[in-house]
Amino acid sequence: MSTATAARGAHAPALPDWIEHAAAAAAGPAWLQERRRAGLAAFAAAGFPTRRDEAWKYTDLKLVTRRSFGAGIAAAPELPAIEGLDCPSLVFVNGRLAASHGVPQAVGVQPLAAAIAADDPACRELLATIADPARHRFAALSTALFADGVLVDLPAGTVLEQPLRLVFLAAAGDTPVLECPRVLIRAGANSRATVIEHYGAGTGESLSLAVTEVAAGPGAMIEHYRLQESAPEAFHLGVLAARLERDSTLVSHNLSVGGRIARLDLDAALAEPGAHVTMNGLYVVRERQHADSHSRVDHAVPRTSSDQLYRGVLSGKSRAVFNGKAVVHPGAAGTDAQQSNANLLLSPDAEIDTKPELEIYADDVKCSHGATTGQLDANALFYLRSRGVDESTARSLLTFAFADVVLARMPLAPLRRHAEQLVVGRLPDADRIREFT
């Protein structure tokens, strides 16, 4: 891998103008400029991925590389309504803070640009140190280009009673827009918070390089929601990388329904005993949408656990990729790593490439993985029809039920209902299914 990268780097073509422009505009103190340069260099060396890159074998970015992306246009920072959810929110348009609703001063939440300008130590210590630039070239590019974002810095023992909602909207004019939403969460010892990242529909063609880094201190508990409902012509390349210390927990809920091409790389490094990560992922794609979910959990030390549950529903000519990896490092005895991926193909033209991977270099571990791909259960279908439910509704109902296994894991009820309605709205007979939910 490094040889190949170096070889390609030696002949790397110059970066596209739009990247050079955005990089030239990205400001910051010396330490940040240094990280930006390193990020840009890492991206330049790797270049845009092609199908020859193992990690991008099934996700073709030609549609992205053919375009150039600019600053976008001004737009109203509308907060997409989620019924029953009334909580502090920050709204970003094209990667820049546009509105703030009810975010109290004292809770350790502030715009990233402001935190950097104030030389906040959390930024200096952690920004661009958790997402591995060698594995995530678009995280490296984000580091070079991002303008703003959010810092959530929770002192030890802090409990955020209300969820924090971060909304990111892309507004393109006649030309496609680039946005680089950047989130840094430092959760002090025994702190607790619920953070919602909501990638709204926006308008027009956009490229989102959405990078979130999480550093969870001892005993911290982060419930993280990621709702990706970008516009149908959007390109969304996200990275969520977390490092978890002793007895800390990250629960990630990840719903991907939007975008022309949407990818999320979700990494969790379980760095100290007792750390736990749950990854609940659901992708629902139709027409010519493409969704790619890459996950990786590193069990680096004894007694850590992970639970990955990913499901996908594919219709039309859509395509999805799942690659889930759990690595149990030498000496990581007592690891518990569970992973499952199940897919429902509703059309003969839809395609899924799924690859669960386990690498185990330790003894005394409990690991399981499995992947299934199939159609609706014929017995269940007949059972519903035998109770008077018409076939089309029965199909939609079973499809929804399949997907809802993932959404049912969301403890935040208003968000779960919103997510369920997003899924229902993408199925035939949406109105009929709503009677059942």
């Binding site: 269940a380 059972y383 519903l384 035998s386 109770r387 939910t437």
Partner: protein, 251 residues
């Protein structure tokens, strides 16, 4: 109510029903007995419209119309109900919502108004009492995590709410202990009425101690080889099925 003539049906390449005749009048309870593999469950499945069964010959007339021409959901709305031998677990589809949708589909089809939530709940709670089911059943997924006995009770609950004209019970007694059997049988008996017919498929005579049939038919190799009254079931219990297989060949 139901008239089956010379019914032939197959599952995949295997012929299972081979010329079955059966007449069921209004209000009658018919027991279908027979050894494993004789075609009992296939008969039940054909009546409900199981898609993996293919009817190759014969007719089934239900209340004057060609039953085989109807989709499973149309049969249900016309008043045909199958109590499954193996009720399907459907996590994510709520038990009570399914029941409500099923009932409203039937009512709509009959030209009746849909029940509002209050009327519906009152009806369901009344029927649940009959089936000795607790409220916790309501908000679970369809049959999700139910024990064998709970699933069978849930089937009869559905039947009690939907009030079908023709109920087909497919081995409803299998997997039930004697107490659960009594509850289920009590539920079924409470639904007996002059305009509701039942076809009760069972391997064992035991169920018929509690649901007393008007007629007993013995199915063997896809055909009815003997018809009698309740006493035939008792005779079968004593003598087994083998003597009838011989009888079928002789006939």
């Amino acid at each position: 109510m139901l008239s089956i003539k010379n019914l032939h049906a197959r599952a995949g390449e295997r012929d299972i029903l081979k010329g079955l005749d059966l007449e069921v009048g209004p209000g009658e309870v018919h027991a279908i007995m027979g050894p494993n593999g004789s075609g009992k469950s296939t008969l039940a499945g054909v009546l409900a419209g199981r898609p993996d069964l293919e009817v190759t010959e014969g007719t089934v007339t239900y209340r004057g119309q060609d039953l085989l021409d109807l989709d499973p959901e149309e049969r249900a709305r016309e008043g045909v109900f199958l109590a499954f031998q193996y009720p399907v677990e459907i996590p994510g589809v709520n038990n009570v919502y399914l029941l409500k949708a099923a009932l409203n589909a039937v009512r709509k089809h009959r030209g009746e108004s849909e029940l509002d939530a209050f009327e519906f709940l009152a009806l369901v709670k009344d029927r649940m009492k009959l089936m000795q089911m607790g409220d916790s059943f309501l908000n679970r997924g369809v049959n999700e995590g139910f024990s064998g006995g709970e699933k069978k009770r849930n089937e009869i609950l559905q039947m009690a709410v939907l009030e079908p004209a023709l109920a087909v019970l497919d081995e409803t007694d299998s997997g039930l202990d004697i107490d659960a059997l009594k509850v289920v049988a009590n539920g079924v008996n409470s639904l007996r009425s002059p305009d509701r017919s039942m076809v009760v498929v069972t391997h064992y005579q035991r169920l018929l101690d509690y649901i007393v049939p008007d007629f007993v038919h013995v199915l063997s190799d896809g055909r009815i080889v003997r018809t009698g009254g309740r006493e035939l079931a008792l005779e079968l219990e004593e003598r087994g099925y083998d003597w009838l297989r011989g009888g079928a060949n002789a006939a």
